[in-house]
């Protein structure tokens, strides 16, 4: 299937119907994470390579945590030329491989964010239909520039959800990013990534997921690890 070109999943999970079984057999409270990635032309070379390595690290580290691996659901969206969902929501446990992303074209970040927010809503409904509790969803948006036209409504949606504490929205700017625009995607300011420290970023993200999934309740607030190690705020 085209949509899964970059991810390989365990065979039984590749169709929509069967991936629903996961919510039946595994009642662990879920933490859905949507990665919205700028894969436009300006990211080519080192940046996209480091980003790829970071995503792979994230998947590995979450899978290594005995509780987070059953709790974190991941979806990945790219904004490079076209906006695309390259991985719809799936338990990280079921991801068996990830092939690197390429970078080319423009930056339809608004469209990719819109897709992510729509899918998050749908995912939350699947949780409710299955009686599976969930933590506040995460939207992690990474860009080295600014979105192309037509992003304001998507930014507004993400920012409103974040202000209502219904979404943890984390816009992250790689060098050259327009932080003031990215900041409009959240109720909290965007964070500038120090150099190309994607590794540290994704390490922090997996540590945060471990904290969230170890917290006893989907209603509890969670102390996240400090961001000092990767941000250059």
């Amino acid at each position: 299937m085209f949509a899964f070109a970059n991810f390989m999943n365990t065979p039984k999970e590749t169709t929509m119907n069967e991936s629903h079984d996961d919510l039946i057999d595994n009642p662990t409270p879920r933490c859905p994470v949507a990665l919205v990635l700028d894969t436009s032309g300006s990211m080519s070379g080192q940046p996209i390579e480091q980003l790829n390595a970071g995503i792979e690290l994230f998947i590995d580290e979450v899978k290594r945590d005995d509780l987070a691996r059953w709790s974190v659901d991941l979806a990945v969206y790219t904004a490079g030329g076209l906006a695309d969902c390259i991985q719809s929501f799936i338990g990280v446990e079921q991801i068996v491989g990830f092939s690197p992303l390429d970078a080319s074209g423009g930056t339809p970040l608004g469209q990719a964010t819109r897709m992510a927010l729509d899918d998050l809503e749908a995912r939350k409904k699947s949780y409710r239909d299955a009686g599976v509790p969930y933590y506040q969803p995460w939207l992690v948006l990474i860009s080295d520039g600014a979105p192309d036209y037509g992003w304001q409504d998507a930014a507004q949606r993400a920012s409103a959800l974040s202000a209502q504490r219904k979404l943890v929205s984390l816009p992250i700017g790689v060098q050259g990013a327009d932080l003031s625009v990215l900041s409009q995607f959240s109720s909290k300011p965007a964070v500038a990534l120090d150099g190309l420290k994607f590794r540290e970023l994704f390490q922090w993200l997996s540590a945060s997921m471990a904290r969230v999934s170890a917290s006893t309740s989907s209603d509890a607030s969670v102390h996240l690890p400090s961001v000092d190690s990767w941000g250059s705020v």
């Binding site: 595994n26 005995d66 239909d129 009686g131 006893t216 309740s217 989907s218 209603d219």
Partner: protein, 335 residues
């Protein structure tokens, strides 16, 4: 940088550099010279705000003669004595090192398979009876656990014992003072405590019984929360409403093996769970007590031994035969 701490009597020990456990409030370090001991050091920012309160509680817990049996209890990592840094500042306390796997791994539809590959119903019941015995002793001493966080109950994979850690968060009457339990996960909390400022309210035996029933259900049902219901509200809202989907007049049991597992539980046990989660939500006096749970689980244990119930953790099919325990009057039972 190596860490050195000392006791009130001045005896100093080196701590392991890297903590083996870390949380939002504190880090726990091994003591290489005393392998059976660990030291909990509160984070500096926590001490800055609450050192006096924390120290008063730890000193009271470790010195009150009424609590001395808890200090020595094999199922508890009770605070033994305060520890200080080299400048004499209070930093935390020493306790016995507890071993085992967190109960939220055992009570987990997926994660149990790695740590407890042979988990069956007799094993789960044995852990629960170990835990209930310890909780009963705590309650007799006036200690309320308050925060029923399954990660603080360690199950020893090589025996059937459970050790309770994080004792310093509990509600304790010691040295003439009540120290409250300021924390809890909302989805483990009795309805009358929902939304309350926990540092300002007393936990009661009844609020303990409610949280405990959730724990028992989760352990017997592979981590499924009793108030998980399909199509709408989350567990906390269902606790407030007393909406428990199992038993008559319920509805909304999640799809999957849950109904099968439920159907295999003894009728008397299910009756207690239904009573506690439905009637017991608004009416605290209707909740099953610890002595009652111990009786019902011991009965389950005996009947499992006689082959009356499926011992599998996840039976494949719902129970077909009538529960034999209800027929015990007409059944000849070997003494």
């Amino acid at each position: 940088m190596s860490l050195t701490v000392r006791s009130a009597t001045g005896e100093s020990v080196q701590l392991s550099d890297t903590p083996f456990a870390q949380g939002g409030e504190a880090a726990v370090h091994a003591v290489p010279r005393f392998p059976g001991v660990v030291v909990k050091l509160y984070h500096p920012q926590v001490l800055q705000k609450r050192a006096d309160t924390l120290r008063a509680k730890i000193d009271a817990m470790s010195s009150d003669p009424k609590l001395v049996s808890l200090k020595q209890h094999p199922g508890l990592a009770w605070p033994r004595f305060s520890v200080f840094d080299e400048r004499g500042q209070w930093r935390g306390y020493a306790m016995r090192k507890a071993a085992g796997v967190r109960m939220n791994v055992l009570a987990h539809a997926m994660a149990y398979r790695e740590q407890f590959p042979n988990l069956d119903r007799p094993a789960v019941v044995a852990y629960l009876l170990s835990l209930l015995g310890t909780l009963q002793e705590l309650h007799t001493a006036g200690v309320m656990v308050g925060d029923y966080n399954l990660a603080n109950f360690l199950c020893d994979p090589n025996s059937d014992t459970v050790t309770l850690i994080d004792c310093d968060s509990w509600q304790v009457n010691a040295a003439g003072k009540t120290f409250r339990c300021p924390v809890a996960a909302p989805d483990m909390l009795a309805p009358e405590l929902q939304g309350k400022e926990l540092g300002k309210v007393n936990r009661t035996l009844e609020s303990e019984y409610f949280s405990l029933a959730i724990l028992l259900f989760k352990a017997l049902m592979l981590g499924r929360h009793p108030y998980d219901v399909v199509g709408g509200a989350g567990p906390v809202e269902n606790i407030r409403k007393g909406y428990f989907p199992y038993g008559q007049g319920g509805g909304g049991i999640p799809k999957g093996p849950w109904f099968n597992i439920w159907s295999h539980l003894p009728f008397k046990l299910k009756e207690q769970l239904i009573g506690t989660f439905k009637e017991g939500a608004p009416n605290a006096s209707a909740r099953t007590s610890i002595p009652e749970w111990i009786d019902f689980l011991k009965l389950y244990q005996r009947e499992l031994g006689k082959g009356w119930h499926d011992t599998q953790i996840k039976p494949a099919n719902p129970k077909t035969k009538e529960y034999r325990g209800t027929q015990s009057i007409s059944q000849p039972i070997a003494a």
